[in-house]
Symmetry: C2
Subunit: 445 residues, 2 copies
Amino acid sequence: MSVRLIDKYAHEFIEKDALAAMEERLIKADAMLKARSEENDYKGWYDLPLNYDTEELAAIERAAEKIRTESDVLIVIGIGGSYLGARAAIEFLRSRYYNIQKKDTPEIYFVGNSFSGDDLDDVLALCEGKEVSVNVISKSGTTTESSIAFRMVRHMMLKKYTNSEIKERVFVTTDKERGALKAFADREGYNTFVIPDDVGGRFSVLTAVGLLPIAVCGADVRAMLRGAANMRRRIDAEGMKNDAYRYAVLRNLFYEQGKCVEILGSYEPSFRMMNEWWKQLFGESEGKDGKGIFPASVIFSADLHSLGQYIQDGKRVLFETIVKQKQVRKDMFIPSNAVDIDGLGFLSGVKMSSVNDEAMIGTLLAHTAGGVPNLIVEYDKRDEENLGELIYFFFIACAVSGYILGVNPFDQPGVEAYKRNMYALLGKPGYEELKEELLTKIHAL
Amino acid sequence: MSVRLIDKYAHEFIEKDALAAMEERLIKADAMLKARSEENDYKGWYDLPLNYDTEELAAIERAAEKIRTESDVLIVIGIGGSYLGARAAIEFLRSRYYNIQKKDTPEIYFVGNSFSGDDLDDVLALCEGKEVSVNVISKSGTTTESSIAFRMVRHMMLKKYTNSEIKERVFVTTDKERGALKAFADREGYNTFVIPDDVGGRFSVLTAVGLLPIAVCGADVRAMLRGAANMRRRIDAEGMKNDAYRYAVLRNLFYEQGKCVEILGSYEPSFRMMNEWWKQLFGESEGKDGKGIFPASVIFSADLHSLGQYIQDGKRVLFETIVKQKQVRKDMFIPSNAVDIDGLGFLSGVKMSSVNDEAMIGTLLAHTAGGVPNLIVEYDKRDEENLGELIYFFFIACAVSGYILGVNPFDQPGVEAYKRNMYALLGKPGYEELKEELLTKIHAL
């Protein structure tokens, strides 16, 4: 057993009656999760770790090996679910300093996740004089951010390589058969990988979307899938009492107590992008119909010296979920000083991991005493199997939590609003009427 | 005129009566900001850009020059205000890729802002074979995170250099005369810089705390101070109608409408750490007495594909402040494709900056239509003078906003709670009673 929920620090916030009242909603949510529909219900992620396409997986590993051998840099083009999961996994498994560390695997840069020319230019400059491969990730091939970046990156590649060389260096992750990008890739003869129809972006890190870039950093992606499968089996075995369901129930309980912000926190800086991945997963799944817990994040203890004051004493609309790492990679003993200049003599010879652990417990006690419920999600260590467990744990918790809240956790209708406005303002054919409407609105302000 | 507030997109959320009712509170807040007390009222940041210690500034520039000349790496040890401002400024002025870019200035790593041994070990490994200087920043010299890191880093330095070499490589930013670190620095003969008594951590980026590391990346710190001074003069000239006050008033107005989360957003990825700096400034200043706006942040358009759904359609407890950059550094034209594979043919030849601007306007209109008030804080470009203006704009807005809210924006009593618990659990002498109390509590859970 690895990933687990610890809720003992939150007991004072859990009223038995309220918990019992949740029971019925949980049973319904469980049934909704397990129901299968004729239409695409975007639940492909659910069984995926149990019956992964092994040919696709082998192809991913071969492509990753080829990229590692032939390139100094991998540019990954994608946004949202086609960006956050892979980046989060690489920083979690390697380090937030991955790109700058000595290693025998390529630097990995993520572009196409903004419209900033300054930022894209920075990355293109980093590629100068280096061998480059590209992984472009888009279901439709028409996502504006990633399409623009792909145009720019292809432009650079065309200056650097011949067409037949480019064919060996561009890897496309997209729809199985439809879409602009698939057609283009086939015509150009690029290697393609599949984004399954029934897996939405924020649930896609265990498909080729995430696994190809993750494999390029040298990680064992089979172990990630194994971890996810283990978590699935545990959840099945534990039934309604499993930890992911319990997490889903408790966060809804806090939400009903008026806690509309959940802070996910970690004491490991390399967890930062996992926080971002989690924010998309929960925010996009639950933030709809005027409802939902707003997902925020912190890295402690840095942010105890930043948001700590607010968490301790500010408006009581918060609860926290601390993702706790049990074993560190390299422990260090705090050296003693000849003179106790810093007053920390009592820590000489103590392991840093012990200080980190006590800081966490001390903080938990302080924040709960301040009226902030605290949950812990614990994993053993930073490795692929734990990561797979953690990811699948959050998938299940998120789906069930959304159903308990009373929303469809698998759609994202609100994401279109800014896109439509942007298309109109940029003069995309077909948006003429909206353009006029928006311009009239702007001029009236 | 550079940094300015644009509130026209929020007009529909601003009721005239409510605004008028704020007037009196603003007048009081202004008076409180300008009042001087016999005791230390932590308002040293207010006049600082107008009468900076020029000798100290020259010494900072000399030290930065020395570090640039003699070192490949600068390790900055500090937490909270002794960390966020400098890192934010360097990423804003240079790039989020600063440490990996080709340059003739040192890599700059920030440690002592967590208890993670894995993370510290990563940075120590990055220093192997390189010439290293260290800037340790702590008012008291007893902050646990930075003291532990300083012990570790000194340990490394002692292996690498002789004592007389270390003297040339360690720069200490601390209290003028008191404190453990000052005493130690004097004994060892380290160069010291001053954290003024009347400037709190989150208001310290324009003192040696921020300016020394910022100067090491080659930035013109005098221009930063000039920008801050310009902003101060504009605020004085504009009196009660100035933009910083207006921002302070409007955010309190939204707060009273039930918007308890403010999202600071930028469309430039290199603004990310500025977001973090802003979160400390506002969160720590306002989050007290059970009150305050919870500060969150996003980088768009990445986070439109992550938190965008929630912002558009989730629980209506949000407002947004978009920090808008007017001019980009390097604009790029979107290349045309022979075949219009991505359906973006209408964007061929369009500047990326135009797309970014229209994405912003489109998003503003979408989010306000969804019930989320949006403000814009605009600056001209990424340079030192604009950065100084922006920083000082937020300083003033934060102080006045806190006074309007009815809190003391310059204290942070809640930060001590976790520290006391942590000391007790770690067995610090003098905390025996609390330790027993906490252990009893834990065992009863």
